[in-house]
Symmetry: none
Subunit: 206 residues, 4 copies
Amino acid sequence: MGVTERKVREKAALRQEILAAARELFAKHGYESVSMRKIAERIEYSPTTIYLHFRDKGELLNEICTETFQLLSKKLAKVVASEGDPVDLLRRGLRVYVDFGLSHPNHYRTTFMTPHQHPPHTVSLDQKINFGTGGQAFQYLLDAVGRVMATGPTRQTDVMATSQALWMTIHGVTSLLITKELEFPWSDKNLLIDIAIAGAVKGLLR
Amino acid sequence: MGVTERKVREKAALRQEILAAARELFAKHGYESVSMRKIAERIEYSPTTIYLHFRDKGELLNEICTETFQLLSKKLAKVVASEGDPVDLLRRGLRVYVDFGLSHPNHYRTTFMTPHQHPPHTVSLDQKINFGTGGQAFQYLLDAVGRVMATGPTRQTDVMATSQALWMTIHGVTSLLITKELEFPWSDKNLLIDIAIAGAVKGLLR
Amino acid sequence: MGVTERKVREKAALRQEILAAARELFAKHGYESVSMRKIAERIEYSPTTIYLHFRDKGELLNEICTETFQLLSKKLAKVVASEGDPVDLLRRGLRVYVDFGLSHPNHYRTTFMTPHQHPPHTVSLDQKINFGTGGQAFQYLLDAVGRVMATGPTRQTDVMATSQALWMTIHGVTSLLITKELEFPWSDKNLLIDIAIAGAVKGLLR
Amino acid sequence: MGVTERKVREKAALRQEILAAARELFAKHGYESVSMRKIAERIEYSPTTIYLHFRDKGELLNEICTETFQLLSKKLAKVVASEGDPVDLLRRGLRVYVDFGLSHPNHYRTTFMTPHQHPPHTVSLDQKINFGTGGQAFQYLLDAVGRVMATGPTRQTDVMATSQALWMTIHGVTSLLITKELEFPWSDKNLLIDIAIAGAVKGLLR
DNA sequence: TATGAATGAGCATTCATTCAT
DNA sequence: TATGAATGAATGCTCATTCAT
């Protein structure tokens, strides 16, 4: 009875351990520079063991991405659920996105800044239509923008395009702060994020 | 007479061929995934030949970056030299940046989206102070923003921070359009770029 | 039961096979001229397999040297343990050294005639003090010389210097007979060894 | 004319320059670890140029050996030509040999301690009979030993074997002092050489 | 479930050497 | 006489992955 359950739990735990190690190493050294052996060494298992949990190196990458989107979605869901002026809500959502990236640079880098050569082995049609694995997260943005537009006059009325443009903006902020963290003499990070987000949102309004 | 010249020309041509192959491959598969062999195969020379023109793989990367910044600077210089309202000039400069990235995706990807582990063999102090090899290009942005602020009232007065925030914005636009070109169901690219840039600039003004 | 043991035995056997191949090749062509591939080819395994048993090429060399000293020490220990006049014992020890070299030319060549650029990864302080890995063997010589000097009058009283000079002498004999075995028209080997050893020992006495 | 002569002189000079560079590098890093390119770099000529003066890398090695023997022979000739007691003369000759090795470690190492895989392209029958390229030098030793034996009673009467044994002894001294110069905690070098030579010569006498 | 052993393919780089000039 | 360009072969070593156990 309990034996089976324990086994299942242990298996899941190891799976998570592998993912954690992979995520950290991918983010730190880049997907290509990380070998299966190094991941295995870090968790103190044999390389072969990884293959019992993941088909290949690429699947590790895909899993990490999916996981990232789930985490992000959860964060965004909270903002959506909270009260407030639509404009303010949008601003807070964007800020949450950036903060998420900066506080999970490993996830962010791996998910949004790693070239994915080989597509996941299984991609549902549904996923393709709904903006891939990140669909749910993007949907929140669409909703937030839609509500802003519904409330007052805006310069743009194309919810989709506006949302995409906003995503681009905050992705630029997040990704540059992550990659060039040390290479570039940035001004105060908080200030930069504020300027970018405030500007983008203000630019959206009439 | 002409013999020497022809040799020089041929040598330069081969050098360019190597750079072109490397740039394309780096952009497509990522720096780490490209081997000297693959570059050599593409140009139909032996791997050894590459080493007659470049010290090592890292030098290839550095050369490509330098080249990119020079190309970009030239484009931006034209905008700077042209006449017009400071706000308009800024907008045009940002657009030139994005267009440059989209029409030189290999250059852009290799230069701005490749992690540079190993610094160039020679880095002048001047370069370090002036934001690396891209200093000149960034200087144009600083100038443009400075002029806008000098002309009329803006929400921000910090030229440096504002410039950096603007760079982040347009980098987000450029990089996402390049990487996820096919993976994501984008709205009309032109529209997206316009929204992002117009928004950012408008957000900058009071 | 026996399965594990068999595996262990097989692993040790392969390790020895690799060492044997390396030793032979190192001795024949010199350390630098022997590649991991060539060693692998000789034992009909892939080059990678060698790395499952040895960290790198240098470790192969070190292992061979250690092994050599152990073999040599064992031979010398027997002489030391035997009975006899100190002078005779010394002579017999020197002869054992030369014979060891001639009957293990690969060991000897690799250990005493190969330049060791890269020190072993781990060198104990003890080893450094005691003349490296060969400390035990050299200690036997020191002891033998010491006993000769303690017994009767000798021309020299410096045990250390005398021992070193004796080592030099027998190394000359051994190494030349090994390297130039075919290139030089030697007189009878036994005679040569006798002359050299007898002379050196006689020269030591008053 | 003078032109031809100058050319000849220049050619010879460059040849010597190449040999000097090769000798030094061979001795320092070992024959195998020295590349033609490195030799060329040191003399600031192109690698190709070396091939105008020497057939291949192996010929460089052979030339250096021949040269070494000539130098050594010259030194020994002086001793032979000098006056003195035969025993003393022998001792002085042996000392000259060791000193030669220690003050020309590059020559010595390359000539006596480098495995010669490929025999010289041209080896005369005469050379083979006369102990190879080093025949002249060895002849001096034979003569010196012969004279000692002719003068007084010795333990051995086999000039050839005794000479060879003496050579072995001094080679041991020379080679160990060169190779393990730093690896081994030698006593005073002069003392060691004296002990070895004095012992060997004394051992030769009745 | 987990692993140790094994490998073919690949890596960046250097080699001695040739050839056209 | 001298060289710059070029290369096939080789270097030590690491890779992702498989397979028998």
